[in-house]
Amino acid sequence: MDNILPSVIGGILIGLSASMMLLFNGRVTGISNIISSLLSHSFKENYWRYLFIVGLLIGGLALKLYNSETFVNTSQRGILALIISGFLVGFGTQTGSGCTSGHGVCGVSRFSKRSIVATVVFIIFGIISVRVMTVLSGAL
């Protein structure tokens, strides 16, 4: 239960970050789009996207310095699982036009039906996926 407050505070920071991008730059903070645009747009068009990602990385360094546990991964997912998972996340977010930040935070916040549907769908399939992974790792 002592994880709840940091989670809410972290969420508020995420909401503030998205609000900042909206107020100043008029943009949705859809991270899957920010990343995939690096592949499809010109370098000049992507300056702000590169800087956003640099911001993520600098924040990552700050987190790492402050708390060495920040990136500890006890999920026990093997290399094959990560390759498949990465590919599906990349392909799925691009096809579905967004991820947890774009649809889940920004889209839901503005009551976009598309985003609400997308969010419900990816959560449901995430739940199914974890169940399958649990069964599979039990069987092996």
Binding site: S7, V8, G11, N73, V89, G92, T93, F125
Partner: protein
Amino acid sequence: MKKEIVALVSGFIFSIGLGISGMTQPQNVIGFLDLQNWNPQLLFVMLGAVLTHAILYRIIRKRNTPMFDSVWHITTKKEINAKLIIGSAVFGIGWGIGGFCPGPAITSLVSFELNVYIFVISMLVGMYVSLKSSGAVK
């Protein structure tokens, strides 16, 4: 220049939010998606984020334009179609397998863990394949 600085600061705040809420730890994400052994952290992250952004969104959108741009860059797409649903389903499946979505994955690159690099490279390949098949890249 101003827009780029906003993006930099915004990215920084975003990743701090991810880190302090535990979302950079895949086991916490998988725990949220695991109904048998439920970890509610992600729910509270979403609540914090959506409540904050929903309120500010309405206030901000009262303006005619953003502060550093002349137009709003918000999609006007409304249609709930197969692409949206299938894409979201595929994303959800991948999310549950790895416990990573794009934001935390990029942020985690600073850990120099092999897992993260494998995930991110695979993610970029997946994005590229999707872009290519839709004709967005040649």
